[in-house]
Structures are given as structure tokens and as C-alpha cells.
Symmetry: C2
Subunit: 457 residues, 2 copies
């Protein structure tokens, strides 16, 4: 098909250099020592929006990291689209597993490697540059545009949610475009219409008053790390079944129609195991397909256990304390607060004698569903289909994008989750990358969608 944008070689080079500059900023929102870097990324994004030709580019200050906003509202009588992205990134550790430094972007083949390349600086800059190209070529945009980006997506920050609760009426919009998801597979474009929620908790386990010598007390004193292991294996058994009472009570199963669509997707379980996961065997709840387990079943996953001696050499200590980081992915029907209460009840049953355990919620987000029958969604599917070798599908995603539900409830507008990442992008892991051909395609899709929306929207 005819490209919507004219991207010259020099223009592409310049655009890639801009993306690299954005990626060099270590905007790790979860780590307080990177607070200034997070702000620098916000300032960088604000400047990029100004360069693109958007108006009123500004930082919105509040608790936590700033929001970045802008608009262009001169398409009288046309729909208004709100663009969302986030300029913060995950911590890069374990550092020694990166082939190139996480904040020194490196192009290898068709992929650009850096922390944040796919999540979410690449997909964010993609629509900024699409808007810039449209304004540069015609002096205007086909629809009205608003921008609202945040810097706390990776740290469960509340700033954008609080701001929307109070100010959503100031930014009326007909649709929200979110580029923070991935395609079902390379060349298989997709629009995500379901997202899992999450409850992230920290469990503090305390045994003896202080660490004890395992010679003197081995055989009689409680061991907090051992107790942590007992707790997590009591919450989820070796077969992958979650053993928390009433955990599944409120789960709304996907419709037969949705399950049938998923079964028709070109999913290769062997490639998934070998190429994406890189292990000898899949795990998880018996009786459900891989796509059901990831998209429509809740999880309980341990992210880390800290406690005892883990340095070089050996130390014969009976650990007095241990900390478990653990989350549950939630599916439609499940309420975070209910799940926390059920986890607390399960924790009481799971805690062995001689130790105490307490639970703190570090963050939560509800699961979200978008109505695929909305005209904006149908148009998005058509647009995606026009730019890729295969037709686009409506899919779900296992990850949480908490803001999707918040946009839908405060703006009363559907969220369109255009996915340009790929399943092997190593999100949240070492060697995160973005497939650059999708950067250019994504710009085309966004520009094309806005033009179609101006006609059909």
C-alpha cells in the first residue's frame, strides 16, 4: 500500500538518533536515586513534542514524577484523540547479562537494544514523530490531538490516576491511543482488548530475634528463609495450582467466541518454549491452553526472596528475616482488595510455627476490557491490517496497563492499544530491544489512522 508518510534516509537517521538520545536517559522510576534522570526524560519528551509542532507542551507537577502534556486542537469538527505513553523504564539488573550497556543504545541488525527501547520509549516516540511528520508535510493534523504521558508506569505511581480523577473533564477525547503493547507475532498485527490486572505485595517473614549460628541452633531455631520457601510453596503447589482459598471465585471466563478466535491464532507452542522462554518445559495451571493461561487466568508469581547470606563463599547462618516479593495477575471479575484479603488469610494458614509473616501491598491495578465492537476499534483493526502482511486480530495481553481502565472510566472513551512491540523484545529483562522496521511501520499506521478517523470517525 501507499505509505502515508514520506520518510527520507536522512529523516530516518535523524529520528533514530533522537530515539537513542531518549534511551540514554536512565529514567528508572522505581529507584529514588534516578529521580533527576526521570525528570530529564520528562523534559526531553516535552521538547520533542514542541519540536513536533504540538502546542502547550508542559510538565504537570504533583506527587511523584511529572506528567507530560501537550495538544493541537485546530481540526474543527473532527474527533479528538488522546495519545498516551510512558517515559520511565524498568531497572536494568541483572546488569551482567546485557550484551551492550542498557543505557547505551546499540543497533544490531534490525533491532535497537536498550532498556526502554520497546517499553515504552520506542512506541512513544513513534507517534510523536508521526505527528511531527504530518504537521511538517501539511502544516496541520487531520484530527484534534491531546497528549498525556507519565513517568511512573513501572513503579505503580498514582500521579496520572489522581490527576485524571480530578481533571479528566478538561481533556475531553473521543478515543485514547496507547502504544505500549506488542503484536501477536512478527507480521501478525493485533489490537489488544483485554489486559490482566495485578496486585503486588511484599511479605516480611521474621523468625528468631537475630541471625543465629547454624551449628549452635541448627535443629531447633526457626529459619526465616526456609519459612519463606514454605509459605510460597503453600500458596502455589508444584503443579502450578494456586492454593489460596476463594482465589478463583470471581473469575469471569472468556466467551466461547473469544476462545475460538484465540485457538485460530498462529500460535507455535514449541517455538514459544524454545525461542521465547528458552527452557525445557512450560509450567502453569493444568487444563488450560497457553494463551488462556497468559490472557485469561490469574497467576501467583514470586519475584524474589531476600534473606540470609547470599554473598561469596559460605556463611553458616540461620536467617532471622526474609522478604518475599510476590504478585498476582488478575483477570476480569477479580477485585484487587478481595484478593489481598484472601492472600492475607492464606498467609496465616501458610506461616509455619516459630515465625511471623506480614503482608504489605506495594501496588495494584484492575484488569481491563475494551469493547471490540466500538467503531474506533474496528477502524483501528482495518488500519493495522492495511500495513502488515497478515490481517490484524483482537487479542488480550497478560500484562497490566493500569491506565487503560482509568482512561475508560474517566474519559468514557475507548482505548485503542496499537501494538508494535514483538514477543521477543525482552521487556523487563536484560537485552530489551525494539524491532526498528516496526518503528517505521508504526509511524505509518498512526498517521494513516488519524487520516481515516478524520474521514470516518
Amino acid at each position: 500500500m501507499r505509505p502515508t508518510l514520506t520518510l527520507t534516509e536522512a529523516g530516518r537517521h535523524q529520528t533514530l538518533e533522537e530515539l537513542k538520545a531518549f534511551l540514554r536517559i536512565p529514567s528508572i522510576s522505581a529507584q529514588p536515586e534516578h529521580k533527576e534522570d526521570v525528570r530529564a526524560a520528562a523534559e526531553w519528551l516535552k521538547s520533542a513534542l514542541e519540536r513536533a509542532g504540538l502546542e502547550h507542551a508542559r510538565l504537570i507537577e504533583g506527587e511523584g514524577h511529572p506528567l507530560v502534556a501537550a495538544d493541537w486542537l485546530h481540526a474543527s469538527g473532527k474527533p479528538t484523540v488522546l495519545f498516551y505513553g510512558h517515559y520511565d523504564v524498568q531497572p536494568p539488573d541483572p546488569l551482567d547479562e546485557w550484551q551492550s550497556a542498557p543505557f547505551e543504545p546499540e543497533l544490531r541488525g534490525e533491532n535497537l537494544y536498550a532498556r526502554g527501547a520497546a517499553d515504552d520509549k520506542g512506541p512513544t516516540l513513534l507517534w510523536v514523530k508521526a505527528l511531527e511528520a504530518l504537521i511538517a508535510s501539511s502544516g496541520e493534523l487531520p484530527v484534534n490531538v491531546r497528549v498525556l504521558c507519565e513517568g511512573e508506569e513501572e513503579s505503580n505511581g498514582e500521579h496520572i490516576a489522581q490527576w485524571l480523577d480530578e481533571h479528566a473533564s478538561e481533556i475531553p477525547s473521543d478515543a485514547v491511543i496507547v502504544c505500549d503493547t506488542e503484536m501477536f507475532a512478527k507480521d501478525w498485527p493485533s489490537i489488544t482488548v483485554g489486559l490482566r490486572g495485578i496486585v503486588y505485595v511484599e511479605i516480611e517473614v521474621r523468625g528468631a530475634r537475630a541471625d543465629l549460628h547454624s551449628g549452635q541452633y541448627g535443629g531447633t531455631a526457626p529459619n526465616a528463609v526456609m519459612a519463606a520457601a514454605e509459605i510460597v510453596t503453600a500458596l502455589k503447589d508444584r503443579d502450578g495450582c494456586i492454593r489460596v482459598n476463594h482465589f478463583f471465585d470471581d473469575v469471569i471466563a472468556p466467551s466461547e467466541e473469544e476462545l475460538a478466535q484465540w485457538a485460530a491464532l498462529p500460535f507455535d507452542e514449541e517455538a514459544y518454549l524454545e525461542e521465547e522462554i528458552g527452557s525445557t518445559s512450560l509450567t502453569g495451571e493444568p487444563g488450560y491452553s497457553v494463551l488462556e493461561r497468559v490472557w485469561a487466568r490469574p497467576t501467583l508469581e514470586v519475584h524474589g526472596i531476600r534473606g540470609g547470606y547470599t554473598g561469596e563463599g559460605s556463611k553458616t547462618v540461620i536467617p532471622a528475616r526474609a522478604t518475599i516479593k510476590l504478585s498476582c495477575r488478575l483477570v476480569p471479575g477479580q477485585i484487587a482488595g478481595d484478593i489481598v484479603r484472601r492472600l492475607e488469610d492464606a498467609l496465616k494458614l501458610a506461616t509455619p510455627a516459630g515465625v511471623t509473616a506480614s503482608l504489605t501491598v506495594l501496588g495494584s491495578a484492575p484488569a481491563s476490557l475494551v469493547d471490540p465492537s466500538h467503531p474506533c476499534l474496528k477502524l483501528a483493526l482495518e488500519t493495522m491490517s492495511a500495513h502488515f502482511p497478515n490481517p490484524a486480530s483482537f487479542i488480550r495481553s497478560g500484562g497490566a496497563i493500569p491506565i487503560v481502565g482509568k482512561f475508560q472510566s474517566t474519559l468514557k472513551a475507548p482505548c485503542i492499544l496499537f501494538g508494535f512491540g514483538l514477543p521477543d523484545d525482552n521487556l523487563h529483562a536484560p537485552n530489551e530491544k525494539f524491532y526498528i522496521p516496526n518503528f517505521w511501520r508504526g509511524m505509518e499506521v498512526i498517521a494513516d489512522y488519524l487520516r481515516r478517523l478524520a474521514i470516518h470517525g
Copy 2:
């Protein structure tokens, strides 16, 4: 009873200052970055032996940290006693739980707080100063004395064992005095005649190729930290029973007579739980008394699990790797090599689908028994009894002092384990301390014992 030594106020002050200087050296043998500190402690001890009036004070170099040796062999026709101690210490972490800095000794009440105060710099300096006082008062020692100290006791180093294998014939001795144990209780002196051995292993667990996003892969990808928890709970169950096949096959139970002696000891289980351990409940193998569990039953204890995200805030990662540090305390009859093979077999059964686990031995030591009917042991018991309010007992200890078995096998001489530490000394834990009245008493006991040995030995 009449003190053997004359300790003036000024002399005590000077001696305590010397101990503090010794304790200020962070001689952490398990951490390579402290290599020079370990050497500094060796040099300090060599100088202390020279100041005491011992001859041929020297460092013996080899693989690892140096040995410190000296002698005084002018008591013609009298027995020869070899003194052993170690000048290295455990790592001090967790640092934030220390009331005063671990390498800035602080006297609070009658206790001196510092890493190494009780294990083993205090008890080592105690006999050095006893020898110094004897030489200072009479110009000679009542028996011949040899010294052999090491700097790898806390890091499973092999230097002293290798050296003894090759050079034991050069240091013939009639008895070995080891001051690296504790009294049964305050005012209840004891000589330890049984020590547990140990096998310390590290288990490396590998799941997916790299850390994965728990949203994208939660429900299908193996989780290495979860697998680590499953492994350790499969090796030892919630009831404290070790589930390793054939683990107990070779255990030699203590005699009825020994069990009867232990039952007669003034053991207060409630105080042990509340004051020493500081927890709500004891754990361990059902069906055995506390003293049996600690002295005569093998253990399986997890010292730490490393893996996943354990920093501040939250990271939604499925960990690809985890490392378990784990040890088994061994009792007489159990052979380290056999236990390693049984652990390896159990690990194969315990490893869940989708992950691999491999085991590396970081160190091991056999259990040791000393014959309490040896004349040198009987004399030691009488001497201890003379200096404390209650008569001394033969007891066992749950900890390993690997060198005891090695001394007995290479020198064919009994080891006399005079204990001057107390059960609440916080060995290997924050706020390690030494009860200073036992420092002075210990000096008296050692001097008295050498005089008695000159007469009866």
C-alpha cells in the same frame, strides 16, 4: 580458690586495649577484598606471641591465608601442649542490625561487642596473655608449648589441614588446647567432647534463558526462585523432617549414658526459646530433645536464597536463576561424601519441570569425638571445676571445628576444648560479644591447667 595469675587493674586495662586492637582488624576470610586485613590480623597475632615471650613466632605461607606459629620448648621432661585458635572472622552483615559498628569494639556492661569478640579473637588472646603472664612472673612456662593458629576457619580453607598432613611430625604434642567453644551456660563450665561436622553446598537453579516479564509469561514460564523454594521444601518438610533418602542411614546414636548425662544438665527450654532464640516456638525433628537435636542429630538448613528482584519497590520479573546456600550438619557415623551423593540424588527428585539444578560443594568437615576418659581430659575437667561456681561437665556442640578431627588424626593427641564463650554471644550474627569476666577466668584456667599438667601430666 587462689588465683594462679596476678592481674593488676593496669594490666587488665592494657590487655583489654590489646584485644580491642585485634578486633579492629576486619579479618573476614571469606571475602577476597579483605585479604590484606586477614594478613594484618596474622601479623598482629605473631607480634602478640613475640610480646608474650614465645619463640620462633612466624607466618607459615601456603595456599590461602597464612598460619601463625610459635613455640617455647624449654620445660625439659614435661609434656608438650599445642595451642590452637583462629584470627579470621565471619562477615558482619546484616550491618544495620549492629548496635555498635562490628569493627569498633565497644564495652557495654561486662560485655565487649565486636565481630570476632567470642569467635575467636577473645578466646585466642586469652591463652596468649596467660602464657605472657606466666613467663613474665617466673621467666618460664611449666610445660612445653607450641602454637598453631589459622586464618581460614570461617571460610572452609584447607591450608592448616594440608600443612598438618605434611608437617605434623615436626610438632609432636601430647595434647591440643582449643579455645573456640562455649560453656553450657553462664557459671556452668564445660569441656566439649563431640562436634558436628558439616557439608556446605550451593545449588544453582536455572529456568528460562533470561528473566521474563511476569505479565507476558506469568502462568507458563518456569520461575527459578519458586523452583528454589520447591526444592528446599522437598528436601525438608514443614515438620522439620529431612526428606533425603538414606540421609540417616549411618548416624551413630549417643550412648544411653551420654543421654542420661545430658538430661541432668540445667537446661531451661523456655529461657532457651525466649532469651537465646527470641521466637514463639522451637522447630526441628519431632521426637528428640533440644540437646539431642543440636548435639546428636544431623540438620539441613538453608542459609540464603538469591534470585529475582529484591531491591526497593517492585519489579515484575520471573527470575531465570536462583542460588541456594544450604548446609547439613553431620554427626558421628555420617561421611560428607556420602551425604553429598544423597543430596544430589534428592535434588534430582526435587527439581520441578522446566528448571535445571546443579550442586557445588563449598566445604565440608567430619564430625569429631574426643575420648573423655583420657587423663588430660579428666585433668581439664577438674581444672575448670576449680574456677567456676559449678562443677564442669563433658558436653557436645552443634557446631563444627574441622581442625579437631585433623589434630587428633595427625598428632595422635587429644583435643581439649575449653569453652569460655556463652550461649548468647551472637556468634556469626549481629552484636557478637564476649563476656569479659570469662576472659580473666579463662586466663586463670589456662595458667592453672599448665601448672597441673606439669605435675600430673
